[in-house]
Each structure stands twice: as C-alpha cells, then as structure tokens.
C-alpha cells in the first residue's frame, strides 16, 4: 500500500537482523531517572492488533517487540511465530499495558478501538504509536489529546507525509511545498485539491455491504471483544478483519482510512495545526446507516477562506494541487509561476520537525505528528464522516469543536460507547 514505507520496511528487515546483536535491549523503565537511555539502546514496544497491519510494524528501527495482543487467536499465533520466543501474548489489551517492561504501546486495531486504547495506555504511563486515523470520533480525539498531554506522554500518529517521503502522485516531499506556501508566492487564501490527478486516487472500493446475513462467529475470534465499544451487530465475515473499513461503526471507508494520510500534510503546510475548518460540504449519494458508501466531492473551508477539496471523481485532469490568487502548483512541483525554484530560494526554510520517534521518546520533545496536530487533522476526517452520514453540509466552530446549529451532528461528535468500555 504505502510504497515508500514498504521499501524502507523491507530494507530494514534485512538490516535489523544484522544490527540486532549490537543493541542493548532494556526497558526504559528499568533505567529510569536522569541517566535514561543511551542513544544506542532499543525501546521496547507492545503491539495491539496483529492482523495484517499490525504485523507490518514489528521491525521498526530502534524498537523491540516484547508483547502482542489480539482478539483473534489465529492472528496472535501467526504474529507470535514471526517474533522471538520470549514475546508475551495477550487477548486483553488491558493486561498488556500493565507490563512494566513496555515503553511504547503500538495501536494497530480498527479505528473504533484507538481512542480507548490510547487513553488507557496514557493512564498506564506508556508512550504511544497509533495507526491512522487517530480516532473514530471527534470527541475521542479530544480525549486522547488531553490524556496524552496530562500524563506527559509522547504520541505519534503513524502517517508521515508531513515530515518525510514523497507524496504518491506529487513527486515531491512536503518541505518545499511548505516553504512555497509560507513564502506567499502563491498568494492567499489557497485551495488544495486532493484528486487522482494531484496525488491520491480515492479508494471507493473500501465500501460496506448493506443487508449482511448473520453468520456464525469463528471459534478463533472473540467477536464481542472485537466489537468492543461499538454497538452490537450480528457477525459477518465482511464486518471484521480486512473489510471492516466499510462500516460506520468501526471506520469510514477510504475517507477515514486514507483521509488523514492526505489531509494531515495539507493542514501542516496551510499552517492550520491549531484550528479546524469552519464548514464541510459533501456531494455524495445517500449513505446507508451501517455500510459506508461512495462520495463524489467533499469541500472543507477554513475561516480565512482556505479550502481543501477531496475530489473523488477526478474529472478535472488539469486541476492544480494548490491554487492561490497569484499562482498554481501542480504535481512534480510544476507551476505557472516562471522560474519558481529560484524565486523560492530567497525564502527561509520551514521550522524543523522531529521525524524519528525514538528521538522524541528519549528527549521527551513532541514528535512531528503528535496528539495535538494529529487530533486536528483527524477532526477534518471526522467532520467529513459526520457530514457524509447525514448527507448535508455543516458549519463548525473550531474553538468549541462543535457543529454550529446542528443538534444531530453534535450528537455524533462523541457517541457513548458500549459498556464496559468508555474513556
């Protein structure tokens, strides 16, 4: 899926096998205090959710997996077979996060679990690596942000375009885009279009099915635990594992799964890390109450007039990625501004970002994509999901983080979880 990341992962598997012996593997907790970790020391981590996605994350640099958790015994056994014999296995994440030897909890479950697990991990004093989207609802996102900050934890959301790698279709990393936006050469406000012609082809086959017939729950799966905080619905193979993305209860289709990936860097270069759009407009067919469907276009507008357009149809092949009153930017850093590179060189570089998680953990400085800006970019996604679900455009108050004049939309900001789960 994420091509660049995958390559680096593969490279790393090769490298790590060699490098493993050179590391000292000691949990940070054992060292504690001012001495802390030597730069060469590995951090220990525990992965919750070891299906396809979770298993991909084992070999990250500078970390050692010491525990794993899954509600599917099949996943658990398969994952354990890929790791050292000493790895501890759990079916209940609440037991796993109690382990004193764990530094980092890596959350790779479906999104409806992210909020609870992140908050509990913060309560247990763990640093957190969380898969995108950060949370399933706006309310959970806020709570995660608060819990992480309150406990002085380090949090990373696992998408990366804001600090490394080349965008799929853009052919450039985000840094020069940030520099260009900051320079003002394009003017203000800006309109950013994410379409298949500017970097990402929205995945509309990540949709759910309505009228699912109930099926018997497989013996290896604790379905009730898989559902966790989500409302009870009869089991179907399509509901779980690799196809859960098509159901509102757990995710929100391609917008939810990939939206933050593409919205987060935009939020970053537009300088909107501390705010949210003031409106969201949707053009989509009616959505089913359970199964996520397709959409044609979602438009976000900020208070200063900046817009982000998610173009699901991609009819306009000539659309610029960024359009401002003074200029346009196209994939491959092409522009209608002549001699752009040279003009841009006169401007300052953007502020540096910490792009290595273990560095953040060791120095206790925020990671480039953290609970704060991650919450904001996830809110963009979740605003879109609410608008899509209700089939209407919505206004939003970025400060109060509530929809304006729409009681129903506000009821969807923070739905109550199924007991015994809550945050």
């Amino acid at each position: 899926m994420e091509v660049n990341q995958e390559n680096s992962r593969r490279d790393f598997i090769k490298k790590s096998a060699v490098a493993l012996a050179a590391f000292t593997i000691v949990p940070r907790y054992v060292l504690g205090g001012p001495g802390y970790l030597a730069p060469s020391d590995k951090l220990t981590k525990a992965v919750i959710g070891v299906g396809g996605m979770g298993r991909n994350h084992f070999p990250y640099e500078g970390t050692q997996v010491v525990a794993i958790c899954d509600v599917d015994k099949g996943h658990l056994a398969k994952a354990a077979s890929m790791l050292d014999k000493g790895v501890k296995t759990f079916s209940d994440y609440r037991e796993l996060i109690k382990l004193p030897e764990v530094d980092i909890v890596h959350i790779a479950t479906p999104p409806h679990w992210h909020g609870i697990m992140a908050v509990d991990a913060a309560n247990a004093g763990k640093d957190i690596w969380c898969e995108k989207p950060m949370t399933h609802t706006i309310g959970e996102g806020k709570r995660v942000m608060e819990a992480v900050q309150q406990h002085g934890r380090i949090f990373r959301l696992n998408t990366w375009f804001r600090f490394k790698d080349v965008f799929y279709g853009m052919g450039t990393p985000v840094k020069p885009i940030k520099k260009l936006v900051d320079s003002g050469l394009l003017g203000w406000p800006l309109k950013v279009t994410v379409s298949k012609h500017t970097g990402f082809d929205w995945k509309f086959y990540w949709v759910g099915k309505d009228n699912l017939p109930p099926e018997p729950v497989p013996a290896e799966l604790d379905y009730d635990a898989w559902l966790g905080p989500a409302p009870y619905k009869p089991y179907s193979t399509h509901r779980v594992h690799q196809t859960f993305r098509g159901y509102w209860d757990y995710d929100g289709g391609g917008l939810s799964d990939m939206g933050q990936h593409y919205l987060d860097p935009v939020q970053y270069f537009l300088g909107k890390d501390d705010t949210s759009p003031v409106s969201v407009e949707v053009d989509a067919p009616q959505q089913h109450t359970d199964a996520v469907g397709i959409w044609r276009r979602i438009t976000y507008t900020y208070a200063d007039g900046c817009q982000i357009i998610l173009d699901g149809e991609g009819k306009d092949e000539q659309v610029p990625y960024i359009q401002g009153p003074k200029g346009k930017l196209y994939p491959g850093f092409k522009s209608d501004i002549p001699d752009l590179q040279r003009k841009l060189a006169a401007f300052p570089d953007p502020e540096p970002q910490i792009a290595e998680f273990s560095h953040s953990v060791k120095t206790r400085q925020p990671f480039a994509l953290n609970e704060q800006n991650g919450y904001r970019s996830c809110t963009i996604v979740n605003m879109g999901l609410v608008a899509l679900k209700l089939g209407r455009s919505l206004k939003f108050d970025p400060k109060e983080q509530r929809f304006i004049d729409d009681e129903e939309a506000n009821r969807l900001i923070n739905p109550v979880m199924r007991a015994p789960y809550f945050i």
């Binding site: 001012p34 309560n123 309150q150 619905k233 690799q242 060189a345 401007f347 109550v416 015994p420």
Partner: protein, 1132 residues
C-alpha cells in the same frame, strides 16, 4: 427530456392532492428510489415520507424483517434518511413525527436487532418524547446499551431520572451501561447508589462506578475515590482508579471546586513517587497548576528541580499557556541554575514562547560549553530574534566546531530577511574554511546570484573542500549572464569533478530561459574550441537546449567513439523533449553494456512518460521498451508505466505477464488499474484476465482489491467483447481470397469450394507466422477471415517492413471491400503524404485521413476501426483519422456496402507485418422493412436504418445512430446542412417519423435543387418544436407543417417532446397535404401562390418547380428521423 420528466413525476405526485395511490404503492415507489443519488433527490424522497404521515411511516418501518430473512436495506435508507431530514432546523413537526413512528414501530418490532436499529435512530432524533419508550429497555441485557446511549444524548430531566431509576434495577451488562450513562448525565441523585457500588468485587463495575462518580464530581465523593486509588496502589490496574481521581479533579476545577481538586492532586503526588509512576505525578502536577492559575508558573517552575526528565519536560509544556512577560522573570531566574540538561529544556520552552525578555540570556548560553545547551540556545535565539541574531550567531559559528557550524547554518536557513545573503557574503572572506563551506552553501540555498562574485573568488581557494563547495554552489547561483564565464572556466579546468560542476552550472544558467538556436551555436562554438576529451561535457548542455542540430551532434558522437557513450547516453536521457527517444531506444536494444542499456532504457521511458502521446501510441512506445528490457526490474517498470495507459490494448498486453511468476504481481496491478478506471471493458478475454489478476494480487489491501474486481465482474456489461482474430501461432480462422464478394456470390458451392482450396494453398506461401506476428512476404493475395462480420470494432497493429523499394502499401478490407489504407507516406508521387487510415477507394465520400498519424517504416502502428452500418471510424495510433465516413461499395457503386462480409488483410506487393488483431462484434440494427400493404401499394424504402446509400449532401453531420438518422450539428459550426435524396421526385407520398429536442428546428425540403436555400429555391415543410418559448412570436406560416412563408399549417398536433411523430406528406401537382399523427394539418393548393406570390412577400421561385430532391434542411438543432419511405406517384 423524457428522462427528466419521468424522474420528476413521483415528487409531483407527492405534492399534488390528486395522488390516488394506496399507501402500499407509495411506500413501494419510494423504497424503489432509495438510496438517493444526491441531496436533491434525498430531499424529495424525504418529503414523500413526510407526506406518508406517521401511520404510513410506521407501515414502512414494519417492513423490517429479521436479519438475513429479507432485505432491510431500503427501509434502513428510508429511516436513516428521514432521521437526518427531520433533524434539520425548522422541521420540529417532522422530528416529532419520526419519534412517534419509531416508538410505535419499536413496540411492534419483534426482532432485537431491529429494535436496536430503531433505538439508534432515537439516539439521533429523540427528545423528552422518546424517554418513555426507551426506559423499559434499560433492564434488557442487549438493549440497555443502545437505550442508555440514546438517553444520554436526549439529556433531559426525564432521561436523567430514567437512568437513575434503572441504576439499581438493572443487572449485569445492562447495569454497566446504565452506570456509564448516569455518569455522563452527571446526575447527583445517583451518587448514593453509585457509592454503594464502588466497593463491589466486580472490577468492571467498580471501574464504571468510579468513572461515573468522578464525572459527577461531587466534593463529597473524594474519600471514596481516594480509597480506591489507594486500594489500587496508585498504579494502573483494572478499576482505573487513578485515572478516575484525575478525571474527578479536572471536573472539580471546571465546577469551581479547586481546593478539593488540589487535595486529590496532592494525595496522588505523595503516593506516586516511584519512577514508573511519574506519569501520575505529572498529571497531578497539571491539576495543581490548573487549579491555581495565579500561581501556576511558580508551581511548574518548581518542577524543574526534579530529577526526572519526563516530569520536567511535561511541566514546561504545561507552562506554555501560562507564560507571559509578567511571569518571564520566574523562568529567567531558573535559567541561571539547574543542570545543563534542565537548562536546555527550559531554553527550548522560552524559544517556543518567543520570549523577547529571555533573548540576551539565551544568546549568552549559545556560547555554553555544554553542547546540548548550546544548540538549544542557538535554536531558541534564532526562533525569538530571527535575522537580528545573525551577527551574534556568526560570532559563535566563527569559533565553533562542525556541529555548531551546522546548527547555526540551519538556523540561518530558517531566518527571514532580504539582506541575509549580503551579510553572509560579508562574513565569507574572513572565515575559516569549514565556516566558509557552510556560508557558501547558505548562499547556494538562497540562489544568491547577486553574491556570486564571492563564490567565484573561492573557486581557486587553496582549501580543496572550500573549492569543491564553491564549484558545487555555482549551479544554484548562476543565471544566463554567467554563461561566458562558465565556458571560460571549462576551458581552463581539467578536473572531472569541476568540469561536472561547470556542466551542471551551465545547464542551470540556460534553464528557465527560452532557448534559441543562438544558444546552440554558442555551445557548438565553445565545444569546437575545446580539446576532444573535454567535448563530452557539452553533450548534456546541448541536450538541455534541444533541437535537431544538437541531437545529430550527440548521436554521431555516440557512434563515433565508445569513449563518448556514457556522456552521450546521459545527454540523450536528459533531453529537453522526446526527440532523443528513438536514439535511446536503439541504444537500449543494441548495447551490450548492461549499465548503458539500463541508463538508455530508463531515459527512454522517462521521455515517454513526460510526452503527451495518446494512450495507444504510448502503449506502442512501452512495448518497444518491453522488447528492449532485459532484467525483471526493467520489465516491471514497463508494466508499472503501462498501468497509466487506460486502453483495452494495454490491458490485454499487460495481461500476458500474469503467467510470469516474477512479474505477475506487478502485471496484476496494471491490469486492475486499467480495468477499474473504465466500466466498459467486458467479454471473456477481460474476464479471464481479471480472474487471473485476483489470483496474483497479494498484500494488505488485496482483499479490498479482489472485492473491487469481483464487483467489477458482477457489473460487467453483457456480450462477448473482443476476441482474438489471430492466435499468434498459425492461420486458424483465416483463409485465402477467392474473387470478390460479387463473384463469390455467383459461384456455386462446388466451384467455390475448389477455388477456396486453391486460394488456401496459395495463402500459405504468402502469409507466414513469424515470432507470433503475421507476415505478408510481399507477393500473393489478400488474407481473409473465415467468418463474416457486420458491425464491429477491430483492433490491429501493423508495420510496413522497409525493403528500401519505397512501395510500402497494404490495407484492411472491411466487409470484403477496399479499404482502410496503409502506405508509406514518403510516396508523395502517389499522394501518400496524407498518411494512412483513410478510406482510399471512396469516390464521393471522404477518402483521405484527417491527419498524418503514421509511425516510421519498421515501426508498429495501431488501428482501431469502428464499422457501424455503412460508416467507418478509424483511429491511427490514438488519433482520429477517419470520422464516421460512409464506405462506398467498390464492387458495385450502385449499391450500399454489403451488410456483412469477410475482413481482409490486403496484399499489395510489399512486405507487411500484423499482430494483436482483435474484433468485437456489435449487434446490428434490424433493417426497417415495409409493411405488406405498403409494399403492395408500391412504396420503397429510402432509409432502413443501416445505410445512407439513397442520400447525399451532409452525410457527416447527419449520422446513423441506433437505426435513426440523427443530425448532430457541432456547436458553433453552423446549421448542420442538408441531406438530400439522390433521386428527384415530383409527385409522391412521403412517410417518415421524427423526434424533436427542445426548440428544435429542421425542415423537409421538397422539389428542391441541391444548390441554394431550399425554403425558397424549392419548398420547405417546417419541422419545428413550435411550442418552445423561443418561437412564441412566429408567423403562422412558420409553424410545424407549414409550407415555409407560404401556407400555414394547424398547430397543436405534435406529440410531447421526446416522443416520435409520424408524418405523411402527399404532393401531387399544386396540391400539398401534410398529415401529422393522423391529423391533416395542411391541405394546400399552391396555384394561388404561384400566381400572386407567397404570404411572406418574398420571392419563392421554388413554388414553380415541378420536381426536385427531398431533403432534411438543417437549422443547427439535434433532430432524429426514421422509417423513411416513399411512393412515387409520377411513375404510375
């Protein structure tokens, strides 16, 4: 129009009082329209539910069946849609109706899952009105959860009470749901019950209870919560008691009970002292600060003395919102003490808060011996002071070690200010080499052309690293004025690295300017003055400028000497445009050096990628790349580029690699990527490839991808689609040519069979299968398909093999008739410069292609030929060259092209190769036939839906669509012109049908000459949508059916727009009658007008004509005609 009318109707029904449908019918009609395509339709559908009313809506909802027993989806769309509709502002009546309906339906529903669904809707729309219906379910193990959730969202006194009442009555899972909900509604009346549950042995119960008590945050609950935390040992465990205390304290602060909050925090601080409890201490610290905003900075500053880094850094983050110039003193005093590590952390915080007050102290720390502290101070100083700190930071840089230099250089790169380059240039001469390098790089990063002089000065620095840095900086700082200087440097330098830098710089200097031949000449001039060994450095510069002269120079340099190869390939690969692609391809195919081959091939593919070729042409280029590719990596790259070529040919080609184990996964992505971009691909070939693709897909998302392919297959249009005409192995499906269609028709079966045997044997000498390609060796006869084809779409690749005879010639015969032309367009003496793809043998209709789209001899070309009725469309290499042109019957010009016949590959005396021949048969329109009565009466058909053989004039804008003559005037391209019968008629009965579009205007010309305005030179019987608003001011003699300008017809007998009208025109001497849809609308005798002139007062010489053509007279509007037949009355 028709479509629109149908779609609007249900809404119109709903609004009108005349809706006589039963509720059941209305519900069925409504459900059939769900889900709505867009907001507009959604709104209309929901209005309909509103019209149904409560009882009707309940009936609709009662259609829900147990999951798996039916299809609930349409009802779920209706209910979900209505919940959203009713919660819009100003729709309180609808909302209340929805609640009543859901409550009723909830009571009636028997299936729990359906009940849960309805409760979830009440969660969205319910107010007090839903509480009573929800309350009973709080005791139900499964339904307590959704009910409690709904009651929380309703959040009224009644809902709070309902929850509190259920607290002690509910058990098990239901009780947990209620506890959670009670907490969220913050109902103080529940405190007593909750307190009694807080000491339960059930940890889940205790956890929920503590959280609920914490959220309600009564000051009196402090001891209960404190005891629980103590019980938990102030550690994270299953009751989450510590987190409950923290939540409790937060809520207390919000409620104004700060002092209680402080007690809670103090208790945690005192008891969570171990290293693994630092996160709890940290959270408690935040409570202490937040509960005492006046004193927060002091409290947090105190934390800096702590030994634990986590604690200190968290305290500094907490301090940011409290930071102000007034509190800065607290932090500045801290800055003087503490460990360097703690100082560095504090400096970071001061940088983030942009504390101007702290800048002097921070600048001092920028000279500190502790590296980390120093770096933190450098970053903070530049963040606060920006360009103002540059002189101070330079002082540190001047004496610093390499990391210090790097840190300061990075800080300078982040500074704003137009005068920064000038300052840097000023520092340059007096700095030590290491600093010089950093400063040079800073000038380069800013493209500081104004300061390029100071870089030139360092090109002969004695320090080799400085020298290198200066050379490397040139490409970032030069502009076109520097070119002479760069050439002079190239002349004097001989070091390869420096020459490379100068080459890059020269290219950069030219880049961004429009290049002209003067630049190329300038480069040639310089090049010729260089020794041979240095000339290679100019190739890439030439490539960047482009042009034929430059290309010739570089390609001949490649051929001349192996020593030039690397530079020449590099230059070709980075060429300004695609002009170097052929040269690169040749090298990729011929080079024996794998590295060179790779560079040439990647360069070639890069140029193809950047060029604007149509997809078919891009595919041909990529197939060339594939034939040059040697390694799996190279082949995979070709397949990857192929994914962007969204045509069937590319899909089929990529599909061949699905059987190659090393490439199948890549091929699968390409096949999928092409197929899923267009829903039109179909047929067995595509199906088989997609099935193989599913099997080859691997990876995380493959289950979604497979799902997408399955969906694609399920929705695939019916039909066989493309099938191969040539199997790549032998001549199965082909036969030799016997005579021509007319001759063959005359032969008896026996003669034909024996002629065929002879022809087949001759065929084998002339047509050979070589490497999967079909070759005509240059002598012999046409190759014909065994099968006959009517309407079809054909794909075929062809190549004229260059035998140096300049006679290249071939063609594709369609329905046994010549031909879509293929020839060597160098044969200007034969008129071949027009290119291939024309209908060469046409005499009347267009025979030349629209443009030249041929590739060179020995290169492949690709045709897409579409034949429908008597019309042919040809795309050559993706370019439209023949646009819906009539193919004339070569063998008998008095009849239209045959309905069906074989396809032939023409033999024309020169060697030609073919490959990838596919055909897709298109169902044919059934020709219109006269009724027995008309046949008997002597009618004949003028247009049967398949050809325009009886017609002449504008056969380009009048096309055949689905068996109709359709006039499709191009916007802005005039009237669309006239279409006339070839024959002339004087007295006749003319019958036809026509279909109008809004405001459409056409006319039926009678007794008309080809030339002149038929309305005056002949007669025009109006064909007009005369009810359109734009025609409200017409004269009567302009209405539909009128003899234009002369005699008025009766108005009001046209059928509604979109429907077909039947018209009969009877012309006999001076009498003209028009019968429209069974009503005589005109019955005129033109004798009077012939004598005294027309009603419009204009000359109408045509009134006097006794014979002429019948024709459709275009006025720029789309109209369709069909079933055209005539009875000639003069022939009796």
């Amino acid at each position: 129009m028709l479509l629109l009318a149908v779609l609007i109707m249900p809404a119109a029904f709903a609004q009108g009082s005349a809706d006589q449908r039963t509720t059941t019918t209305r519900i069925a009609d409504l459900l059939a329209q769900l889900p709505a395509r867009d907001a507009g339709q959604l709104e209309n559908n929901m209005k309909e539910i509103s019209e149904l009313g409560e009882a009707g809506f309940v009936t609709l909802i009662n259609g829900l069946t147990a999951p798996g027993k039916g299809n609930n989806a349409p009802i779920e769309y209706a209910v979900g849609g209505f919940s959203a509709y009713a919660m819009q502002n100003g729709k309180e009546a609808e909302r209340a109706m929805s609640v009543r309906a859901y409550c009723k339906a909830l009571e009636m529903a028997s299936d729990k899952q359906n009940k849960e669904f309805l409760i979830s809707q009440l969660e969205l729309v319910g107010k007090d009105d839903a509480v009573a219906a929800l309350e009973p379910y709080l005791m139900d193990a499964q339904l307590a959860d959704p009910s409690a959730r709904a009651l929380v969202k309703i959040n009224s006194e009644a809902s709070k009470n309902a929850l509190a009442n259920a607290l002690t009555k509910a058990t098990g899972a239901a009780q947990l749901s209620v506890i959670e909900a009670v907490g969220l509604t913050r109902n103080k009346q529940a405190i007593a019950s909750l307190t009694s549950l807080a000491t339960s042995k059930d940890k889940n119960l205790v956890k929920a209870t503590l959280a609920a008590l914490a959220r309600i945050a009564d000051p009196a609950s402090a001891p209960v919560l404190a005891a629980a935390a103590s019980q938990a040992g102030f550690q994270y465990e299953n009751t989450n008691a510590v987190a409950a205390n923290l939540l409790y304290a937060e809520m207390l602060i919000k409620d104004g009970n700060a002092s209680v909050a402080r007690q809670v925090a103090k208790q945690l601080t005192e008891n969570a002292k171990a290293e693994n409890q630092v996160h709890t201490r940290t959270a408690a610290l935040k409570i202490l600060a937040d509960s005492d905003p006046q004193n927060a900075s002091n409290i947090l500053a105190g934390a800096l003395d702590d030994d634990n880094k986590e604690y200190r850094t968290a305290a500094l983050k907490f301090a940011v919102p409290y930071f102000s110039p007034a509190t800065s003193g607290i932090w500045l005093s801290k800055l003087r003490k503490g460990s360097p590590e703690a100082q560095a952390e504090l400096v970071g915080m001061l940088g983030r808060t942009q504390s101007k007050e702290a800048l002097p102290a921070i600048l001092k720390l920028a000279k500190n011996k502790d590296q980390n502290l120093k770096f933190a101070a450098i970053d903070a100083a530049s963040a606060i002071g920006g360009a103002q700190t540059i002189d101070e930071l330079y002082k540190v840089m001047k004496k610093g070690d390499s990391t210090t230099i790097d840190t300061i250089a990075a800080a300078i790169r982040r500074m704003k200010g137009a005068d920064i380059p000038e300052k840097i240039a000023g520092y340059l001469p007096k700095s030590k080499p290491e600093v010089q390098i950093a400063l040079i790089n800073l000038l380069a990063a800013r493209s500081a052309n104004a300061q390029i002089g100071s870089i030139y000065d360092l090109l002969d620095s004695k320090n080799p690293e400085v020298k290198t840095a200066a050379y490397q900086a040139l490409k970032r700082t030069v502009n076109k004025n520097d070119v002479p200087r760069l050439f002079a440097l190239m002349k004097s330098q001989s070091d390869a690295q420096e020459l490379q830098a100068l080459q890059d710089a020269t290219i950069a200097a030219y880049t961004g300017n429009t290049s002209d031949s003067a630049d190329v000449d300038q480069v040639f001039q310089q090049m010729s003055s260089m020794p041979a060994g240095k000339q290679v450095w100019f190739y890439k510069i030439l490539g960047n400028l482009g042009g034929q002269k430059a290309l010739d120079a570089v390609t001949s340099a490649y051929t001349a000497n192996e020593a030039n190869h690397k530079s020449a390939v590099e230059a070709l690969a980075s060429w300004r445009d695609a002009a170097s692609a052929p040269a690169l391809l040749k090298i990729s195919k011929e080079s024996s050096n794998p590295e060179e081959l790779n560079a040439a091939l990647l360069g070639y593919m890069n140029l193809v990628r950047k060029s604007n070729f149509p997809p078919e042409q891009r595919l041909l280029k990529l197939r060339e790349a594939m034939s040059a590719a040697r390694t799996t990596e190279q082949k995979a790259l070709v397949l990857k580029d192929l994914e962007q070529v969204k045509v069937i040919n590319a899909l089929l080609f990529a599909g061949r690699y699905l059987d190659d184990p090393t490439l199948q996964e890549r091929a699968a992505r390409s096949v999928m990527g092409i197929a899923l971009a267009d829903t039109a691909y179909h047929g067995t070939l595509v199906k088989d490839l997609l099935n193989k693709t599913m099997a080859a897909l691997k990876g995380d998302d493959s289950s979604y991808e497979k799902e997408a392919i399955r969906k694609y297959l399920a929705e695939m249009p019916a039909g066989e689609g493309f099938v191969p005409l040539f199997n790549g192995v032998d001549l199965t499906g082909w036969k030799g040519l016997v005579g021509d269609p007319l001759k063959r028709a005359k032969m008896d079966a026996k003669t034909l069979a024996s002629e065929q045997l002879k022809a087949d044997s001759a065929m084998r000498d002339s047509w050979k299968v070589i490497n999967g390609e079909l070759h005509f060796v240059g002598h012999g006869n046409n190759l014909a398909t065994v099968k006959k084809y009517g309407d079809f779409e054909m794909l075929v690749d062809w190549k004229i093999i260059d035998d140096k005879q300049r006679k290249g010639d071939a063609g594709i015969y369609l329905r046994g008739s010549p031909q879509v032309q293929i020839w060597d367009n160098a044969r200007v003496e034969d008129g071949a410069e027009v290119g291939s793809g024309g209908l060469y043998n046409n005499k009347v209709n267009e025979s030349k292609p629209l443009k030249v789209a041929d590739n060179k001899l020995d290169e492949w070309n690709t045709f897409r030929i579409l034949m429908k009725g008597d019309r042919v469309t040809v795309y050559l290499n993706g370019e439209l060259v023949t646009d819906n042109v009539i193919l004339e019957n070569y063998w008998d010009k008095n009849r239209p092209i045959f309905d069906e016949e074989q396809i032939e590959l023409q033999a024309h005396g020169s060697p030609v190769a073919y490959r990838d021949i596919y055909i897709r048969e298109i169902p044919r329109v059934k020709p219109y036939q006269l009724s027995a009565a008309e046949k008997k009466a002597g009618f004949k058909v003028l247009f049967d839906g398949t050809n325009m053989h009886n017609w002449t004039g504008n056969t380009t804008d009048y096309v055949i669509e689905n068996g109709n003559i359709a006039i499709r005037p191009k916007p802005g391209k005039g009237s669309g012109g006239n279409l006339f019968t070839k024959e002339e008629f004087s007295d006749f009965v003319f019958r036809f049908e026509f279909q109008l579009t809004p405001g459409a205007n056409n006319g039926l010309g009678i007794r008309a000459p080809y030339e002149g305005d038929a309305a005056y030179e002949g007669m025009e019987l109006q064909i007009l949508d005369n009810d359109a608003p734009i025609y409200k001011d017409l004269h009567k003699y302009q209405y539909h059916g009128s003899i234009y300008g002369t005699y008025a017809a009766k108005r009001g007998f046209l059928k509604p727009l979109g429907e077909w009208n039947y018209e009969e025109v009877i012309v006999k001497g001076p009498k003209i009658k028009v019968i429209l849809n069974g009503t005589v609308i005109l019955d005129a005798d033109i004798t009077e007008a012939r004598k005294n002139g027309a009603a419009d007062g204009k000359p109408h010489p045509g009134l006097l004509r006794n014979t002429g053509h019948i024709g459709f007279l275009g006025h720029g509007s789309p109209v369709q005609f069909r079933y055209i037949r005539i009875k000639d009355l003069s022939k009796k």
